[in-house]
Every structure is written in structure tokens, then in C-alpha cells.
């Protein structure tokens, strides 16, 4: 006899009825780890009553690669090629946070131009990631045209990455000390052209997805996150902003060049899947705007790498730090400890998906319809690789 589910939330939650599987009233269903409605390799163990979910348990462990431990046996420079793999669709945030943490501990001051190039990369990454998410979100609700458009434009952005960094996905561009390269000739013009196309395409997505009767009907009211759930569950990023929380690390604790850029934090109030999508739509436009501002204002000359020690036997004095940045899903953090040796003592990566995909998902799934579970999960925008570092 399985134990009744208990929620460890401090919130006032009605104690659900004990589930008696032998009653014939319930069906157990595994969604994932191989399932298009799952964002990556994890799975949901669903208990259904009819087509209504009465219990959801999240399972991870399909993607564990042991990166944090692995990094303890690699030199500081070698790790920079590893961290990008921690969140596949958004490697750049890992590159930035790892590099910035190492620089802080080693006392390295990064030149101004590198900060602009880093911020530019982060925003391009955000744009590419949101475009992929938009495709996933509309796909989860049966709108298969939108993914074709958004993924095309994501690919154009990957083309820009390829030109700048030499790779499409694992850019390995932001390196401890600065960046590896500068903008190639004509890159700015091509980037502006692609931004123009992306903006136009996103206006059409607005018509086809956000103003779509079917999408609205299915996503409005789905996966409601009440504001009092945000802090106890550690909900961050657009998921929190859609619940009315005006929180964005780029504004609250500006890093890189964000204090020199002009933008407003996007918030909404309804806090359902539709509003979360809406917040992300607005952030895509915001992102395009930020990239344009940066392209206009970033310095075109000057050093892009700090004077570096010989990385082959680079030792960093003992210390620890936690650095964070606003990724597409909210606060992404790196806790790094050094002990004076050539190897990092400990790295802990804090990905926002950890709470969103495990605890929040378990809570929100209860009471929803089996047909909406994929859409609900996408609406939380989770990346399992960052749960299992």
C-alpha cells in the first residue's frame, strides 16, 4: 500500500485523499524520459483519475554526467570547455559565470570591451533560447507552424555565434580573462539584419500563437502559480515575473554592462501558462532591443582579454564565491571554492530548473488534465541538464 503523497510546502495545502491504486480508480502513467512533451531527459510519474492528474512525482537521474565532480580533476582552463555542457540550450551563462567566478577568486580585472562582448553573447543566447522555447511552447499546444519559424531564426542566431565563436552550440567563447575573439568584419550588419527579421517574425508569432483562440483557451488558467508560492518554492525568472514579482538580476544586481543599458523589467499578474508565455514574448523584444543598444554602444577597439598567467600551471589562492546571472529561466548561479592548488576545490551549479522542474512541477501538475501536462511543463521552461550537473 503506497503512502499517501505529502507535500513539504509550508503553504496551506489541502491534504489530498489517500490513493488506493488497487481500487481500480487510478492509472499510473510515466511521461518521459523519452517523450516529446518532456523538456529533456527526465520523467513524470503521473497518477491519473480519468484524465485528471491526482499525483505527480518527478524523476531525474537520466542525465547525470557528474560535471561538478569532474571539474575538480581538471585545471581551471580545461574546465572552461566543460561548463558549457551543463545547460545545453544556454551554454553561455555557464561560460560567463564560471569565468567571472574564477576571475574574482584570482583577482583578475576583465577589460571593458570583453564585458560588452560577454553581455552581447548572453543576450544573443537568451534570444536563441527563448526562440527555441517559443517553438516548444506552441508545439506543446499543437501549433506546429510556429516552431518552424522560431527555430529557423534561432538557427540564424547560431550562424552569428558560429561566425563569432567558431561553434554553433558549445561556443566556448567566454574564457577566464575575457573573450577569445572580437566581432568579425561585417558581423554587426548581419546581426542587425537578423534581428530585424526576428522581430518581424515574432510579431507574426504574436498573431498566430498569442492571439490564437485555441492557445488562449488551453493555456489561460493553466499551471497557476499563486504569488505566495513564489518565495517558498524559490521560483525565479519569468515564472516569478508573471506572478507580479519585479525581479531581474540584470536590474537588481547589475553585472557586466547592464547598468548602462536601457530596459524595464517585464511583469504580469495572472501567473498562468499564458502569462508566462506573454512575459517571455516581451522579453524577446526586450532582448532584441538590448542587443541593438549594445551593438551601437560597445567599444570597437581595445583589449578583450586581461593579462593572464600561464594557464598550464595556474594556481588560484584559497577562496570561495557565489556569482549569479539572470538567464532565461531566472537566477543561474555558480558557487566556486578554490584551495590554492591548480584545481578547483568545489563547484556547485545552481540552475533554476532544479526547483521549477522538480518541486514546482509536482505541485502544479495536480488537478491538471493529462493533455495539458506537456504544455504546463514547457511553460515552466526547464532544462534537465542543469538539474543534474
Amino acid at each position: 500500500m503506497p503512502q499517501p503523497p505529502t507535500h513539504s510546502s509550508s503553504l496551506d495545502m489541502a491534504q489530498p485523499e489517500p490513493i488506493d491504486l488497487s481500487s481500480g480508480k487510478y492509472v499510473k502513467l510515466w511521461q518521459g524520459p523519452q517523450h516529446p512533451g518532456i523538456t529533456g531527459n527526465m520523467s513524470l510519474e503521473l497518477t491519473l483519475c480519468g484524465d485528471e492528474i491526482v499525483e505527480c512525482k518527478t524523476h531525474v537521474g537520466y542525465l547525470h554526467r557528474g560535471f561538478e565532480k569532474f571539474m575538480e580533476r581538471r585545471t581551471y582552463i580545461q574546465n572552461f570547455t566543460v561548463v558549457c555542457r551543463i545547460a545545453v540550450p544556454e551554454p553561455t551563462f555557464n561560460e560567463y559565470l564560471y569565468s567571472a567566478a574564477i576571475e574574482e577568486l584570482a583577482g583578475i580585472e576583465v577589460p571593458e570591451r570583453a564585458n560588452w562582448l560577454r553581455a552581447l553573447n548572453l543576450e544573443m543566447m537568451r534570444l536563441a533560447s527563448f526562440l527555441m522555447w517559443t517553438g516548444g511552447m506552441s508545439g506543446a499546444f499543437g501549433l506546429y507552424t510556429v516552431p518552424n519559424w522560431t527555430l529557423t531564426y534561432r538557427d540564424y542566431i547560431l550562424d552569428l555565434f558560429e561566425e563569432l565563436t567558431g561553434a554553433r552550440i558549445y561556443h566556448m567563447y567566454i574564457v577566464p580573462g575575457g573573450v577569445r575573439n572580437v566581432l568579425p568584419d561585417g558581423w554587426k550588419a548581419r546581426a542587425l539584419e537578423i534581428l530585424k527579421g526576428t522581430e518581424k517574425m515574432m510579431r507574426e508569432v504574436d498573431r498566430v500563437m498569442m492571439n490564437n483562440a485555441v492557445f488562449k483557451a488551453r493555456s489561460k488558467g493553466l499551471g497557476l502559480i499563486p504569488p505566495d508560492m513564489v518565495d517558498p518554492y524559490g521560483i525565479v525568472g519569468p515564472n516569478a515575473r508573471a506572478a507580479g514579482f519585479k525581479r531581474d538580476l540584470r536590474k537588481d544586481e547589475p553585472y557586466l554592462v547592464y547598468d548602462q543599458l536601457d530596459f524595464e523589467v517585464v511583469t504580469a499578474t495572472a501567473s498562468d501558462a499564458y502569462e508566462r508565455a506573454w512575459v517571455r514574448q516581451q522579453e524577446i523584444f526586450q532582448c532584441i532591443n538590448l542587443i541593438r543598444q549594445m551593438l551601437e554602444r560597445m567599444p570597437d577597439s581595445g583589449p578583450f582579454q586581461a593579462q593572464m598567467p600561464n594557464v598550464l600551471h595556474w594556481k588560484i589562492p584559497p577562496g570561495e564565491t557565489y556569482l549569479k546571472a539572470e538567464c532565461t529561466r531566472g537566477e543561474y548561479g555558480y558557487y566556486v571554492v578554490t584551495d590554492g592548488s591548480e584545481y578547483v576545490r568545489r563547484v556547485h551549479v545552481r540552475g533554476p530548473s532544479y526547483t521549477h522542474a522538480i518541486a514546482v512541477m509536482e505541485r502544479l501538475a495536480v488537478g491538471t488534465n493529462i493533455a495539458d501536462i506537456a504544455g504546463l511543463m514547457v511553460s515552466l521552461h526547464t532544462y534537465p541538464p542543469e538539474i543534474e550537473r
Binding site: T81, E162, G166, A167, L312
Partner: protein, 596 residues
């Protein structure tokens, strides 16, 4: 639900007639990687020196350094080349970033099909691949470095200050400077192969990074008992092959060596360095207390042999003492090295000349082995008329006088003939004695055998260089306080065989200049008169130099030779290695009776 929400989605149709975004399928349009794409590697094998930094940095162990057919190790090249295993490579390009020679890059080729999986492991640049010759692909940006390309400058006395005294010109690194400089080493070991003494350069540099100078000293004494000396005046062939110098400046190996010695007090040497082994009862005679002789003495004494050194001068050190001025090698530094050797019980007989005070054959009769390292101390003649003019002096005598505290009385205008280190030393010493100095050299500045650093310092100290100038005659024989030098301009004539260009005197362009002294410093030869002909006839000697066999051993089993009198390079570090090598040979010979 509004009517707009029902109609709006039909906007999807407006894109129905757009051209497809994807590349063409019929025929397939191949899309090359971006110009900076990180694809398959290319290594310019001719530029690569096989330092293995790519191998060291690769976090996937995707690179092995392997021997390649048709490629031999030689000075400055390990003869190894990186072999890539694309089953392991993650295409990060750190190997390209760290490449010291700048020979490694990536192409923008990312697609390659072959049915044999082993094909994906190959020595890039040595096997023909379809992407050979492509210019696109990832290169290291010239302003992006994973190790500091510039060396930490050694602080020097300003020329106006240095020219006024015999104070040491190079001030030495501070601890912070030394650690920063030591950090630049990539630990490839190409220097070890090139150093005549095969010193453990990467390891003693490592000891600086660790702040363990005693260990550094131990490492240095394993191959060189003259670290304080070599840390100042070594010809440093190691630096000329240091891969860090290919795209930047070589690691200042010599200054780092000096730094280690300067950190350890002489009083601690006995505790740190190895002690003498048990007495073997064997006696060894060494002729000449220069770097070669004393190096042999040190290593033989460590093995427990009784060592006696015969030195014709009043002090030990040979050319280091009498040929190198104290602003380059101060006596205390040289004494530090020599005193440690003597402290082990090496006995030195000063003012004792073989041939005069003891017969050479007596040495062979009375000792178990003899090591000869008498150096080159006879100045070469210019072979010009009037060379015996009283105001024509040879460079070695000038340096010798100054080292012995005598005033060589050179006057106020001096011409130095020659372009080697002795010429530079003579010129700079003359400047310090207050003379105006003109250096005449028959070839061009770039042909000068002297250390570039010495040439630059001589120029900075105000020596005037006249190149392509050949002395013809010393005139004015009647006058004893001045000499007029007749010299002619030379044209450089290319050698049809590809050798170095030869200076040819231009008879119509002659000059006459008058100096207080002309210093001739065009080279030195040996004096082997102390060896009786019945012995020397048995030995292989060519142009005044011994031709030793293995372990520096001569045809006479007991006789070992080394130093300037037995090698072509004629520098301190080679002499030190000769001494060390002969010591190995002598020990082996005494121990087993085997020849080399």
C-alpha cells in the same frame, strides 16, 4: 474569446509562398563552416617544434605526441608531432590557443566520412587530407594569450651609471619578478635537450614557482656546479630554442638560475647539496682550474676520489675569472661556486704550471687518471704589419690586467678589433677605464659572434661600432704612446656555396686613424707545449685542439680532456658538461677498467 483570436492565426498563410530557408537539396548545396569555425586541425609541421603544450592542455587526452617518419629531433625540435584522436576531441581549440609555435590551427571543415574508424586518429598536417591548404578555420587571435608572451625585464644599471664602474650591470630579479617569469615556462623540456649540460630547466623553474629554492639548487647541482656563474654569463642556448620565444620572448632561463642561487646562502650549501661518498683511494690530477677542470673535480670528488687540481694562476676560475669582467660576473658569485667545490676537499695547487713545475708525464705516472682542461689562452694574431707595435695589446691581456687589479694604461682612445665576446668585454672595460672606444669588425653587426645583449650594452655604453672594417697595418712604430691604424672598408661577397658572406677588402677605400691603444681580440688558440712530443704524437690533436673519444677519453687510457681546448663551442657551459662527462668516464674507467 474574440473574433480576432479566431481569425488571427490564419496569418500563417502569408508565409506559405516564401522561399525555403534551408539549403538546396537537389543538387545538395554544401555549406562551408564559418571562417572561424573550429573543425579538423591542421598543423604546419615545419613550424611546429613538438613542444607538446597542446598535449598538456588537452582535457580530453585527445592528443598524443608521436614520432613521425622522416622527422628527426634536432636543436629546438623534439621531433614529435601531435596526433589527434577525433573520437576524444571536443573541438574546444585550447590546443590552438596554447600552441607556442603558432603552427597549429583548425580548419572550417567539419564533415568527413570514412569507413575505417582508425582513420579518425591521425597526425594533423603530416597526412594528406581534403582540407589541407584551406585558409579558413579557427586561429588564435594575435591579442589573445594563454601565457604571457613578454618576459619580465631584468632591471639593469643605466648605461651612464654602468660605464662609470665595474658594478654588476644586471641587478637580479626580485622574488615577485622571478615567480612571474617562472610562470611563463610551458615545461616542454626542449631546453634540456639543447643545454650542453642538459640541466633540468623546467624542474628548477618549477621550484621557483613553488618557492622551494633549496630544491632548485639541488636540481641545478645535479648537472652543473657553476650555477651562480652560469646564471650570469651563460651563452644560454636554452633560451634560443625556448618555444615561448617563437611568438613572444623566451623564458629568461639564465636570470631564473641566478635567482635561485642568489636565494640560498653559501653557508647552507653543505646541508642542502650532496656530500662526498666514501673514499675510493684513487687519485686524480686535473690540469686547469677553469669551469671544465673544476666541474670534473666536483663530480669526481663526490664519488669519493681524491682530486688535485693544478692551476698556473694565483686564483681558480680560469677564463671566468680572468676573461669575464666583474660587471658581468662579480668575483663573489664565482667564488660561491668555487668555494663549494673546494669545501668538498678538492685540493688546488695555485701558481703551479704543468711542464714547468711538474712534468706532464709525472702526472700520468703518479695518478690514476688525468683530466686536462687548459683552455684557450693564446691570443690569435691579426697577421698585419706592425702588429708588434708597443701600443697594440691583446684583449685577453687587457682583461687579465684589469681582473688582477693592474692598470693596463690604455690611454684615452682605444680601437678594439674583433666581434666576439672578448672584443665586447675589452671594449666595455676600456670604456670603464675612461677611454673613447671604437670597435672595428670585418663583417656586419648581425655576423658578430658576441652575445646580442653584450653588443647592445656596449653600444648603449657609448662604444662606436665600425663594421666591414679590416685592419691592414699598424703604423707609427717610432712613437711609443700612440699608434696609427690603417684599415680598409670591406664589401660583403656572397658565398656561391651558400656559406656566410665573406668580407673583401676594398683597396681604394683606406682610412688612417690614430689611437692610444689598439686592442686585438680576434680569437684565441691553445698552448699545448707542456705535453712532451712523445706523448702528444700519440694523441689526436687538430688545430691545437684535442679530439676526444667517448667520455672525453683520449687514446691514452688515463688521459681525459675537456673544455675550450677540446670542444668546438668554447663556452663555459660546454666546458662544465665536458668536465661532468669526463668525470662519469673516469669513474667508470676506475671502477670497471672499461674504456668509454
Amino acid at each position: 474569446m474574440s473574433l480576432k483570436d479566431l481569425i488571427s492565426p490564419f496569418f500563417v498563410w502569408q508565409r506559405a509562398f516564401e522561399k525555403p530557408y534551408t539549403v538546396g537539396l537537389k543538387p545538395i548545396v554544401e555549406r562551408p563552416g564559418a571562417p572561424a569555425y573550429r573543425g579538423f586541425h591542421i598543423n604546419m609541421s615545419d613550424d611546429c617544434v613538438g613542444c607538446g603544450s597542446c598535449f598538456t592542455i588537452c582535457q580530453n587526452h585527445a592528443i598524443d605526441m608521436v614520432k613521425v617518419d622522416g622527422l628527426e629531433a634536432h636543436g629546438g625540435d623534439s621531433g614529435l608531432r601531435p596526433r589527434f584522436d577525433y573520437g576524444r576531441c571536443c573541438w574546444c581549440g585550447l590546443c590552438v590557443d596554447i600552441c607556442t609555435a603558432g603552427s597549429l590551427r583548425m580548419t572550417n571543415e567539419y564533415a568527413w566520412f570514412t569507413t575505417n574508424p582508425d582513420d579518425f586518429r591521425f597526425v594533423a598536417g603530416m597526412e594528406n587530407k581534403s582540407w589541407d591548404g584551406r585558409t579558413g578555420g579557427y586561429h588564435r587571435h594575435p591579442d589573445y594569450h594563454l601565457f604571457p608572451p613578454k618576459r619580465i625585464e631584468m632591471e639593469m644599471l643605466a648605461p651612464e651609471e654602468s660605464v662609470a664602474s665595474f658594478t654588476e650591470v644586471a641587478k637580479g630579479y626580485t622574488e615577485e619578478q622571478a615567480k612571474l617569469e617562472a610562470d611563463r615556462c610551458v615545461e616542454c623540456g626542449i631546453c634540456v635537450a639543447t643545454c650542453p649540460a642538459h640541466m633540468d630547466v623546467p624542474d628548477y623553474i618549477h621550484s621557483i614557482r613553488d618557492g622551494d629554492y633549496e630544491k632548485g639548487l639541488q636540481l641545478m647541482y645535479r648537472t652543473n656546479p657553476f650555477p651562480a656563474t652560469c646564471g650570469r654569463i651563460c651563452t644560454r642556448r636554452c633560451e634560443s630554442v625556448c618555444p615561448v620565444g617563437i611568438q613572444g620572448e623566451p623564458v629568461a632561463i639564465r636570470w631564473l638560475k641566478r635567482f635561485i642561487v642568489d636565494q640560498v646562502a653559501e653557508a647552507d650549501y653543505a646541508r642542502i647539496l650532496p656530500n662526498v661518498e666514501a673514499d675510493t683511494g684513487k687519485r686524480i690530477a686535473i690540469v686547469g682550474a677553469g669551469p671544465g677542470g673544476l666541474s670534473a673535480a666536483y663530480y669526481l670528488r663526490l664519488k669519493g676520489h681524491a682530486v688535485e687540481v693544478f692551476e698556473s694562476q694565483a686564483q681558480a676560475g680560469g677564463m671566468l675569472r680572468y676573461g669575464v669582467p666583474s660587471y658581468r660576473l662579480p668575483d663573489p658569485a664565482l667564488d660561491k661556486d668555487i668555494e663549494h667545490i673546494r669545501s668538498l676537499g678538492v685540493e688546488i695547487h695555485f701558481n703551479h704550471s704543468i711542464g714547468r713545475d711538474t712534468a706532464f708525464s709525472d702526472l700520468l705516472d703518479n695518478y690514476d687518471a688525468v683530466f686536462v682542461s687548459t683552455g684557450l689562452n693564446v691570443p690569435s694574431q691579426m697577421r698585419i704589419q706592425g702588429e708588434d707595435h708597443p701600443r697594440v695589446m691583446d684583449g685577453l691581456k687587457l682583461l687579465d690586467d684589469v681582473a688582477n687589479g693592474k692598470d693596463p694604461q690604455i690611454g684615452t682612445s682605444v680601437a678594439v678589433i674583433g666581434g666576439g665576446n672578448v672584443a665586447m668585454d675589452a671594449a666595455r672595460v676600456s670604456r670603464r677605464l675612461g677611454a673613447e672606444v671604437t670597435v672595428l669588425y670585418r663583417r656586419r653587426i648581425e655576423d658578430m659572434p658576441a652575445d646580442t645583449e653584450e653588443i647592445h650594452e656596449a653600444q648603449a655604453e657609448g662604444c662606436i661600432f665600425v663594421t666591414q672594417a679590416i685592419p691592414v697595418e699598424a703604423l707609427n712604430a717610432a712613437q711609443s704612446d700612440q699608434v696609427t691604424l690603417k684599415w680598409g672598408e670591406a664589401e660583403m661577397l656572397q658565398d656561391p656555396k651558400g656559406g656566410r658572406p665573406r668580407p673583401v677588402l676594398q683597396e681604394e677605400r683606406m682610412h688612417l686613424d690614430t689611437f692610444d691603444t689598439v686592442v686585438s681580440a680576434i680569437g684565441q688558440g691553445s698552448n699545448l707545449d707542456y705535453i712532451p712530443t712523445e706523448i702528444s704524437d700519440q694523441l689526436q690533436i687538430k688545430w691545437g685542439k684535442f679530439i676526444p673519444g667517448d667520455y672525453q677519453q683520449m687514446v691514452l687510457n688515463k688521459l681525459f680532456v675537456g673544455g675550450d681546448v677540446a670542444n668546438a663551442t668554447a663556452d663555459a657551459i660546454s666546458a662544465i658538461e665536458d668536465g661532468h662527462h669526463a668525470a662519469r668516464g673516469i669513474h667508470r674507467f676506475l671502477d670497471t677498467g672499461q674504456r668509454g
